[in-house]
């Protein structure tokens, strides 16, 4: 592993909100997808999970929120701890009550429910009464003024950005302390991506919500995240605080599309990658 | 391969490997195999169950008394669920069962009967479709292996019209009367239509045909039409749930129940009991008695049920369909006895039982001997006539039980028989079947 001196990293070691310890995930009893992934999310932090398509980002998030069962996946090794408690056996519903909620890739709004009804479903597990839920709703509308305008339209008929906001707002309705955010930028215009991430940042700063976000858009992710992990083929190949990752030659090369020297040929890249993998 | 899938595959192959040998037969003495195609499951189970119980109990009684002339009968039930292809499967499975093969098949379904008719020529096993099946099979010259005595749907229809004529004060009074035939929309239900049409022309009554689709749970439209027509009489060829609903709907439009006659598959306990008091006065045809007042029934109670060998509940003894199972078995066992007169006392092959059926002569005295005096009409089968144009009686539901309200009505052979012979001749032509001469040579 790369060694870093960043303070956030040590902080993470000290007060981790979420700890994932060497988990292995197998789909359908045959396909090994995660081959030992470990990571930490500090309280109040934004941690990015980076990597290409199929690297295992979504699987990691689903393993944490326990949504794998529905896809015939199993966590076969390792452990997951949230606030020091083992959570592998908890149902998604229990996790939401504990404060961990996932916003799934591709938004997954309830198409035939209105935007407001969508938001209200997020409060399903809450037991603190209608008034508190009303307040949360106002808060969501405060962060996402656009949703307030569209609250009576069917979610299926709203735009991609609005759906992403609905999904995020819906998660917020559960009063979470941690949101697992899967590919928030997918299929959205750059401007919207910025908008969404600004809100994530605001939520993190003002509401104290921690985020673990899986993102292919490394650039944006590292702009907002404090710490990052890079996944490749079901393994963590690199981690470090955002700044050091941004400046790392390899990350620049492979994930940010920036190159220090002259362009290398594809062949070089392949060789380089292979070597890199052996090194980790 | 994970364990679950392995077990699954293993279990499947094991099941299929193991299951396809039928049970080992305990072969000791001479016995005859009598297949009983029943339907104790499915939509028509309420009708199939009492019939099967009657069959089973009567054979148990015969066996308890030593069998037919000392030859025991092994009754093998095969569940068809009233499904044609399952019936064929049963037939194929059982036709060679036992030392000499199956004695005779009672398919208990018109559909299955049609399947078997052709196969019997090849397999040399007779089929007795008692009061159902292919009416043309009455012509024994063409249908050598098929019997449908004591009577058929066509005969029944003519007898019903005769009864109605009698009630109206003579056949001449039928002119201008309105008669509705509510029927199951299937080959079975439509059987009576051609006969009724001929009779309508002959006697000048106005016939309306109202088909009801399977299963017949919803008959609003049918009975609204009846309400508008206000027919003088309603005749029904229904089956299963259709009957109960029809009776209820008839009551709902206040149709007089005593002008409503069901055929013999539409006048059973299952049909009237669910309708409750509304059914009182409803009439139906029958070719055997209802109730358990005969000595044979007492014997079944004593020698079968009391010994714990009864097939159904004791209260079921004497129900219409139970009794129909009994009379079916009386015909069967008497045919066996007849055949033993010619071929000797032994297990009879299907061909030999066929001869017994064709030469059956069940007299009133013999019925009395069997403890069933007056239970059914005496009957004599011949090579020409496998049906006998047998008489039917009208029974009426008095709220608790069925009671006869007419004497035996002889169907109009002059109308029915030519139709039968025509249909049989057509069949023989289509299938290139040599017509028998019935002089003892074939």
């Amino acid at each position: 592993m790369e060694t870093t001196e960043a303070t956030e990293a040590t902080e993470a070691e000290v007060r981790p909100l979420l700890t994932v310890n060497n988990i292995e995930v197998i789909y359908d009893h045959v396909i090994l997808v995660l081959k030992g992934v470990s990571l930490h999310v500090p309280e109040g932090g934004i941690v990015a999970l980076l990597g290409a398509n199929g690297a295992g980002k979504s699987t990691t998030l689903k393993a944490i929120s326990n949504l794998l069962g529905a896809e015939r996946g199993d966590v076969t090794k390792g452990s997951i701890e949230y606030m020091g408690k083992a959570v592998e056996k908890l149902t998604p519903s229990d996790l939401v009550q504990l404060g961990v909620i996932q916003v799934m890739e591709g938004r997954h709004c309830f198409e035939h429910l209105t935007v407001e009804e969508n938001l209200l479903t997020g409060a399903y597990t809450r037991k603190d009464g209608g008034r508190a839920i009303r307040d949360s709703l106002d808060k969501v509308y405060h962060y996402f003024p656009r949703l307030a305008e569209r609250k009576t339209s069917l979610a299926g008929y709203t735009s991609g950005g609005e759906q992403q906001m609905t999904a995020l707002g819906r998660a917020l309705m559960a009063n979470p302390s941690m949101i697992l955010l899967d590919e928030p930028s997918m299929g959205l215009a750059p401007q919207l991506v910025e908008e969404i991430f600004e809100i994530v940042d605001a939520l993190n700063k003002k509401e104290g919500v921690s985020f673990l976000l899986a993102e292919q858009n490394t650039n944006v992710a590292l702009k907002y995240a404090g710490y990052g992990y890079i996944l490749e083929n079901g393994r963590v190949v690199m981690d470090g605080d955002a700044k050091s990752l941004r400046e790392n030659e390899d990350v620049k090369e492979f994930y940010l599309g920036l190159s220090s020297g002259e362009r290398r040929s594809f062949r070089d890249v392949k060789h380089y990658r292979r070597r890199k993998r052996w090194l980790t | 391969m994970n364990l679950r899938k392995l077990t699954l595959m293993g279990a499947t192959s094991a099941v299929f490997a193991a299951l396809f040998s039928t049970a080992p037969v305990v072969a000791a003495e001479d016995y005859m195999v009598l297949p009983s195609l029943v339907y104790r499951t499915g939509a028509y189970a309420p009708n199939g169950v009492p019939f099967a119980n009657g069959v089973s109990d009567y054979i148990a009684l015969v066996n308890a008394r030593g069998g037919v002339n000392g030859i025991k009968i092994k009754l093998i039930e095969c569940e068809t669920g009233y499904k044609t292809d399952v019936g064929v499967e049963c037939y194929e499975k059982l036709k060679k069962e036992g030392p000499v093969g199956a004695a005779v098949f009672n398919p208990l379904s018109t559909g299955i009967t049609y399947q078997l008719i052709e196969k019997t020529w090849v397999d040399k096993v007779p089929v007795h479709s008692m009061g159902y099946g292919r009416t043309a099979a009455a012509d024994g010259r063409v249908f050598k292996w098929t019997f449908n005595f004591p009577t058929s749907y066509w005969s029944q229809a003519s007898a019903v019209i005769k009864y109605i004529g009698g009630q109206e004060g003579g056949m001449a009074k039928l002119k201008g009367k309105k008669i509705v035939h509510v029927h199951h929309n299937s080959p079975y239900g439509k059987e009576a239509n051609p006969t009724l049409k001929i009779l309508a022309e002959k006697y000048g009554f106005k016939l309306t045909l109202l088909p009801v689709d399977h299963p017949g749970q919803e008959q609003k439209a049918t009975w609204l039409q009846v309400r508008r027509l206000r027919p003088d009489w309603v005749f029904m060829s229904g089956w299963g749930v259709m009957n109960q609903v029809a009776i209820k709907e008839a009551a709902a439009i206040n149709y007089p129940m005593d002008k409503f006659i069901g055929n013999w598959w539409s006048s059973t306990e299952s049909d009237v009991v669910p309708a409750g008091g509304a059914a009182t006065g409803y009439k139906g045809t029958a070719f055997h008695g209802a109730g358990d007042s005969w000595p044979a029934h007492a014997a079944i109670k004593k020698e079968v049920h009391d010994k714990g060998k009864g097939a159904g509940p004791r209260e079921g003894i004497g129900e219409v369909l139970y009794n129909r199972g009994v009379i079916n078995m009386v015909y069967t066992t008497e045919a066996m006895r007849t055949a033993m007169g010619k071929f000797g006392t032994k297990a009879l092959s299907g061909a030999e039982v066929r001869w017994g059926l064709e030469n059956l002569n069940l007299t009133a005295a013999r019925l009395k001997e069997l403890g069933l005096g007056g239970f059914a009409n005496p009957i004599k089968i011949s090579c020409q006539d496998h049906e006998t144009n047998g008489p039917v009686r009208i029974q009426q539901w008095d709220g608790k039980k069925w009671v006869f309200v007419s004497e035996w009505i002889v169907p109009m052979a002059d109308v029915v028989r030519p139709q039968i012979e025509m249909a049989a001749a057509n069949y023989a032509k289509e299938k290139k079947i040599a017509v028998r001469k019935c002089d003892g040579s074939d």
Binding site: - | E79, G111, V122
Partner: protein, 357 residues
Amino acid sequence: MLYREAGQFKTNYSADQAIFPILQDRIFLAVVLIFAFVVVPLIANDYWLQAILIPFLVYALAALGLNILTGYAGQISLGTGGFMAVGAYASYKLATSFPEMNIIVVLLTSGLFSAAVGIFFGIPSLRIKGFYLAVATLAAQFFLIWLFNKVGWFYNYNPSGTIDAPPRELFGILITGAAAKPWVKYLAALSMLTVFGLVTKNLVRSAVGRSWMAIRDMDIAAEIIGINPLGTKLLAFAISSFVCGVAGAEMLFLHLGSVETLAFDINLSFLVLFMIIIGGLGSVMGSVVGAAFMVLMPIGLTNFLVGWLGMQATSAKHLEFMVFGGLIIFFLIVEPNGLARLWQIAKEKLRLWPFPH
């Protein structure tokens, strides 16, 4: 260990595009066919042929037909019974109106009639999808059955309303009717299934098959890349109904010998649908395996419960219903993609053996 394709090199495109590119598959198929064509007729008795194997072959053909529509083109149909009835009644009319017509021609022509009817009832599929379409195909089911029951012309006005298969010969051997030998009928049904199976196998990997699957997996996207949805869907309906129609005609001529409309009721539609789901959607082999399963299972259960455990036929039947329903659920849970998928996984394992992944 035996099932390994290593060492089998393809030196030209045609070899690479063969239906069964792997040698072991070809050997396996050849062995199965030899067994089915030569060994089975020699060892099976009448009961096996008449009551199990012939119905199995007929149902397998029907399942194949439905699988084209549902498995490959993604259109759920509950009208299979109706389309089979079209085949049966058409073949009866053809055989009785033209007694000289070759029986094979009769069967294939009746398939054409069924295809035409299939196209007609497939038209709504352009606008209606999923279960709405499934229920809409019930309109075909009920209407066709009513029609054949109602219009005397279809059953030559005979008083009973049932149709009988007239005896017909092929190459001088009696092939239909009660007097025909069971093994002859068996071979006829088997040949039909083999031919249709191979044709289908080829068809589904052609451009036609690919466009079906494109429509199945995402119809809008398929339309965007230039696949004409109406034509593609209707072609699927046509070919599917053609095969089902032939199966219906076989049902009359080779299996039952005499049918009434009741034989083609909605239960038949469900039965065939079960076959392809249990066997595997979108798999030729799945259709055959599914049919085998659904034909053998009830018979096997009855024989087991009544014959071996000595149960009463009735309670056995009730129990059989429960076991049958339970097994269906069990299979769906264990392998929603059907028996054919199990087979495929087994093959994959064999190829990798002794390595687990």
